[in-house]
């Protein structure tokens, strides 16, 4: 029953290293800084600095190579396709030409730089998912969104909904699998690729799921009201995150790298 269950915690790898124990908010801010640096300005020197940085951080976080390979598997085709496009479409002095296809020096450079940029961006975002559990990530995101509540946005409700829905993800997922098996027992054909069967499959899973969602929501809301939950009330956390000296160091380091990116 739980064969697919592992994918639910995403790529998270619970270890005890410096990177894992960093404040999740700090990790998020660092990643935003580094990624926006990469998106705004990129050339060979910057790519090399970032690659070096990525390798050092991955080494510190003690992430095994097999996990890394698995997490990069979904994007290998994207990198391949995008470098092909750049190889053949960049104008410049031709190195090799067959008919209408030209391979240029500039094309090779551009495709190399762009594909390493994709690897870098995916590498940094993957680092967050590998070293932070989804629950901590959601808490960090909602605490970073706090300033927006001054603008009148419902940040409190939003973070409540986020954590509720993350909490119920495994339950709903299990339920979806159970419904799928129940429909299989009734003769549904999930392996068919015909559109009519696909429609029937999705409909036969979605309708029971919505029905059970309504029932579950009723029960849960009653349980919350009984325990005295009030919308908009002040809430405390089960685990407080702390801001340590090492967090400050990492934050300053990534700020420096971000500024260097602009100067290069």
């Amino acid at each position: 029953m739980f064969q697919n269950y592992k994918s639910l915690i995403g790529y998270f790898l619970p270890l005890n290293t410096v990177i894992h124990n960093l404040n999740p908010q700090v990790k998020l801010i660092c990643m935003i800084l580094l990624m926006s640096g990469l998106l705004i300005n990129y050339n060979l020197a910057i790519i090399i600095i970032y690659l070096f940085l990525l390798l050092v951080v991955y080494k510190t976080a003690k992430i095994p190579l097999s996990v890394l390979y698995n997490s990069f598997k979904p994007i290998i085709w994207i990198i391949f396709f995008s470098s092909l496009v750049h190889l053949f479409t960049t104008p410049g002095e031709p190195l090799l030409s067959r008919g209408f296809l030209n391979i240029t020096v500039q094309g090779i450079q551009k495709s190399l730089i762009l594909s390493s940029r994709i690897i870098l961006i995916v590498g940094f975002t993957m680092l967050i998912s590998l070293t932070t559990s989804p629950v901590n990530l959601v808490e960090a995101i909602s605490s970073l969104l706090k300033p927006f509540s001054w603008l009148g946005l419902p940040v409190n409700q939003f973070s409540l909904m986020l954590s509720l829905s993350l909490r119920f993800l495994p339950v709903i997922y299990e339920e979806a699998e159970r419904i799928k098996k129940a429909q299989l027992a009734r003769g549904a054909n999930f392996s068919s690729w015909r559109l009519k069967n696909r429609v029937n499959n999705v409909v036969s899973i979605v309708i029971p799921m919505i029905y059970s969602a309504i029932i579950r929501a009723d029960d849960l809301a009653i349980a919350m009201e009984i325990r005295g939950y009030k919308v908009g009330g002040k809430r405390t956390r089960l685990k407080e995150t702390r801001f340590l000296f090492i967090d400050l160091v990492i934050l300053l380091l990534s700020l420096i790298i971000f500024i260097i990116t602009f100067l290069l």
């Binding site: 995403g10 990643m31 994207i78 909904m161 993800l169 997922y173 696909r198």
Partner: protein
């Protein structure tokens, strides 16, 4: 603005979890430029009950936490879904309801994916547009028709 009633908030978050669970159930096809998200069929739900707009937004947010593109998908992908779901809730008839997810996702998601991967913008728009069209009209529309027929009595309290 969001609801004050706990029951509605809980219901919306469970709709969100449903979207995220369906996306994760079909994991490798759900992310990136060559995506075919079957759970996008759920984006027709706001036509029947408009509060689901926020539920879908939350669901997309949670589902994108697992995306290899990380933060870009989390922020811009979820905002695209929010806009699309809002437009769907205002759709004049059932045949136009699946249109906003197709158009909005094709144009917004392509902006950052083509910037990131360097694949030409219009190629990306047409690819995402076609895959969203297949899911939203091929599965979403029949789902909407069936839901409207069978489940109307369930939604009276939401």
């Amino acid at each position: 603005m969001l609801e004050k009633d706990i029951r509605k908030i809980v219901f919306l978050s469970i709709i969100g979890a449903t979207y995220a669970a369906l996306t994760l159930l079909l994991m490798p096809l759900s992310y990136g430029p060559f995506q075919l998200r079957l759970s996008e069929a759920l984006t027709v739900l706001p036509y029947l009950f408009p509060q689901a707009v926020y539920g879908l937004f939350i669901g997309c947010f949670i589902a994108n936490l697992f995306s290899p593109f990380g933060l870009l998908d989390i922020i811009f992908g979820s905002i695209a879904t929010l806009i699309a779901a809002y437009l769907t809730s205002k759709a004049p008839n059932i045949y136009l309801a699946p249109l906003p997810p197709v158009v909005v996702n094709a144009f917004i998601v392509s902006v950052y994916l083509s910037n990131l991967t360097g694949i030409p913008y219009w190629l990306m728009v047409s690819y995402i547009g076609i895959s969203q069209f297949v899911v939203c009209y091929g599965i979403g529309l029949p789902l909407l028709v069936v839901l409207k027929k069978r489940l109307k009595y369930l939604f009276w309290r939401f």
